[in-house]
Symmetry: C2
Subunit: 384 residues, 2 copies
Amino acid sequence: MTIPADTAPGARIVVPVALEGRAYDIQIGRHQLCEAARLIAAMAPGAKVAVVTDERVAALHAPAFEACLQQEGIGFTRITVPPGEATKSYAQFIALCDALLAAKIERDDIVIALGGGVVGDLTGFAAAVLRRGVRFIQIPTTLLAQVDSSVGGKTGINSSHGKNLIGAFHQPALVIADTALLDTLSEREFKAGYAEVVKYGLIDDPAFFDWCEVNWSRIIAGGPERDHAVAVACKAKAAIVARDEREEGDRALLNLGHTFAHALERLTHYDSARLVHGEAVAIGLALAFRFSQRLGLCSGQDATRVSRHLDAVGLPSTLQQVPGGAGTAQEIVAAMGQDKKVRRGVLTFILARGIGQSFIAHGVAAEEVTAFVEAELATNGQAR
Amino acid sequence: MTIPADTAPGARIVVPVALEGRAYDIQIGRHQLCEAARLIAAMAPGAKVAVVTDERVAALHAPAFEACLQQEGIGFTRITVPPGEATKSYAQFIALCDALLAAKIERDDIVIALGGGVVGDLTGFAAAVLRRGVRFIQIPTTLLAQVDSSVGGKTGINSSHGKNLIGAFHQPALVIADTALLDTLSEREFKAGYAEVVKYGLIDDPAFFDWCEVNWSRIIAGGPERDHAVAVACKAKAAIVARDEREEGDRALLNLGHTFAHALERLTHYDSARLVHGEAVAIGLALAFRFSQRLGLCSGQDATRVSRHLDAVGLPSTLQQVPGGAGTAQEIVAAMGQDKKVRRGVLTFILARGIGQSFIAHGVAAEEVTAFVEAELATNGQAR
Ligand SMILES: NC(=O)c1ccc[n+]([C@@H]2O[C@H](COP(=O)([O-])OP(=O)(O)OC[C@H]3O[C@@H](n4cnc5c(N)ncnc54)[C@H](O)[C@@H]3O)[C@@H](O)[C@H]2O)c1
Ligand SMILES: NC(=O)c1ccc[n+]([C@@H]2O[C@H](COP(=O)([O-])OP(=O)(O)OC[C@H]3O[C@@H](n4cnc5c(N)ncnc54)[C@H](O)[C@@H]3O)[C@@H](O)[C@H]2O)c1
C-alpha cells in the first residue's frame, strides 16, 4: 500500500473540522511550531498568549515554540504543570485558572496547550470557563493527543468518582500537530497513542487497519507514514465530531474499547507506572472484539486479528497484562458502571460485527459483561 | 398607571426566552412550586432530581417544594450550601460537583437551583460542567434572582482575582419565579433586588421607570404589582439575551451600574454585612447617571431623579453610604480595571443620555473616571 501524494515529505496536511460557527483547522506536518506562531499572530493581532505545558514538555519543546512566538512579537507567559494523569485534578484546575488570571488573560487573548492529553484536557477546560470562555489552541505533543484528545473539543478533569466527570465542550480555534515533536516521546507512550490510531480502522475503516498492519513500524520510525496516520485519524475524528459534537449519537463510536479502558484505569488508580490510557485502550479494543465474538456478533478470526496486531506492536491485549492485576470480574464491571456513558443505570457498549464494523449497543446486560470478564480472567483471553 | 390584564391576581405569566435550540420559559406567579414539579415530571419522566439550596432557603422553602416533588413521584436528593457570596468559591464548587456525583446525577437527570443568585450561579456552573453538562432548572427565591440572575444562562463563581471570573454560559431548561417565595425575604434583600428591577427602566424603558416611581411600595408589599415588575424585568432581559447570548454586543447594557458595583463589592471584600450586590448596583446606577451628567451626556434632572428614587426606596446612592468607606478614588478605579468587561486594558462603561437611554461606551479614559470618583468622594454626590 502506498501513501497518498498529500503526505509526501515536507508537505503539510490540513484537516478542516466543519463545526457551524466554530470551524477550525488541524495542521499536520513536521516542524510546524513557527508556522503555529505565524497563524496566531494573524488570527489575533495584539493578543497575549499563555503557554500551558508540563515539566517534561517544557524542558524539551517550550523554548523552541517560545522563540517562534518571540519572532512574531507575541507576548507570552509560560505556565507549567506537573506531568501525569494526576494533574487532571480540581487542585491543578484551580491553580491554572488563577495563574491565567494572574497573567491577565482576557477574553480576546489566547490560551495554548503545549503537551499531551493531560495538558490539553486540563487547559481546554480552564480556557472554557475562564471569563466564561477564552480562545484556545492545541499543540499536541503526544501521538495520543495528536490523533485523539486535541480534536473534538472535549475537555475536562477527573474526580474521585471517575475520569473526565467535570468538563466542558470547548472547541479549539486551531490545532497544530507537529509530528516532529513526537521524536522525543518514549516508545511506551508512542505505542500507547498508536492504540488510538488503530481504533479508527477498527471503527469503520478496514482498509486503514490493513494499512496499519503493514506500516505500523514506519509510523513509529517517523516520516510520511506517521503524518499519514495522524491525518487519517484526525479526518475520521473530525467527521464524527462534525456530525455529533455533543455525543448524543454517533460520536459514542469513538469510545470503542473505552468502557473497559476506563474501568481498568480506575482500578489501577490512574497510575501510569502500571497502565497509561492508550495501553488501557489497547486492552479495551481487544476485549471489545472478543466480547463481540462471544455475543456471536463478530468472527473469531477478526477478534484474533485485532489481538495479534496489538501483540505485534507490543501493546497489551489481555487483562492479565495489567501490572498488579486488574481485579475481579465484579470489580471490573462495577468500575464500568461508574462510567459517564451510563444512562439511567443501563450499560452502553461499542461492539463490532467485524473489523471496521463497530456500532453502538444500548442496554447491554451487566451479567453478560461479568460472565465474559470472568471467562477472560480464567483463560487469559484464549477463550477466543 | 394600571397593571396589564395578564397580571390579574392568580394569573401566571409566561415569558419565553427565544434561544435557537435551547428555548425555555420563565413562569411567573404566586405559589408555583407544585406547578414546577408537574412540569419537571412532564419534561423528564423517570429522571432523578438534585435540589441545591442554601441553609436559609432550605429551612423556609425546601420542604414545601420537596412535598410537590414527592407528589409527582420524582426521586430527589437535597444538597445544602452555606448562604452568602462566599459560597461562590472553588471549594464550594468542588463540594457541590462531588455531591452531585455521589447522588449519581447523570446526563438525563436534573439539577435544580432553589435559592438566590448565589445558589443559582454556583449550581448553574456545576450543572454546566458535570459530565460536560446536565439539565438545569432555576427556582429563584430572591427578587434579584427572579429579575436578573436566573435568566440568561450566565453562571459562575468568584476567584480571588474578582467576581464571576470562572464560569460558563449554561441556559436553564425552565425558570419558575414563584413570587410568593419572596414574602420571607428580608426588607434589605428585597430592596437590593429592587435595584435590578429599576435598572430595566433606566436602560431603555422610561415608562417602566415612571411606573416604578409610583408603584414601588406595592411591589414590596406583594400582589399583582410585584408579578408585573418581575415579568417586565424578565421580558426585558430575555429580549436582550436572545439578541446577544454571549455578551458580544447589546447584552453589556445589562451591566448598567455594574462596573462601579463590582468595584465596590471587591473593595468591601464581598462582605454582605457591609454591602450586598443589589445595594452596590443601586450606588452604581446613581454613579453611572452622575458620571454621564459630568460627561455632558445626561441632564442633571435625570441624574437627580435616579438618586431621589433610590433614596425614597431606601437604597444607597452615594459612595459615602458604603459602610466602612469605599476606599480612595485610585482604589476604586483600580478595582474597576480588574473587571472582566475590560478588553486589552480599555475601560468599557454603560452610560446614559437620560432615563431609558443607556448605551455602551467603549474606551472611557481611566483619568476621567478617577476625576469623577474624586469629586463624588469630596461632595457626597452633591456635585450634580
Ligand atoms: N479530550 C479527549 O477527547 C481525550 C481523548 C482521549 C484521551 N484523552 C485524555 O488524554 C490523556 C492522556 O493523554 P496522553 O497520553 O497524551 O498523556 P500525557 O499528557 O500524560 O502525556 C504522556 C507523557 O508523555 C510526556 N510527553 C508529552 N509530550 C512529549 C514529547 N513530545 N516528548 C516526550 N515526552 C512527552 C508527558 O510529559 C507525559 O509524561 C488522558 O487523561 C485521557 O483521558 C482525552
Ligand atoms: N448570573 C447572573 O446573570 C447574575 C446576575 C446578577 C447577579 N448575579 C449574582 O447573584 C448573586 C446575588 O444574588 P442574591 O442577591 O439573590 O443573593 P443570595 O443568593 O446570597 O441571597 C441573599 C440572601 O437571601 C437569602 N434568601 C434567599 N431566598 C430567600 C427567601 N425566599 N426568603 C428569605 N431569605 C432568602 C439567602 O439565604 C441569602 O442569605 C451575586 O453573586 C451576583 O454576582 C448573577
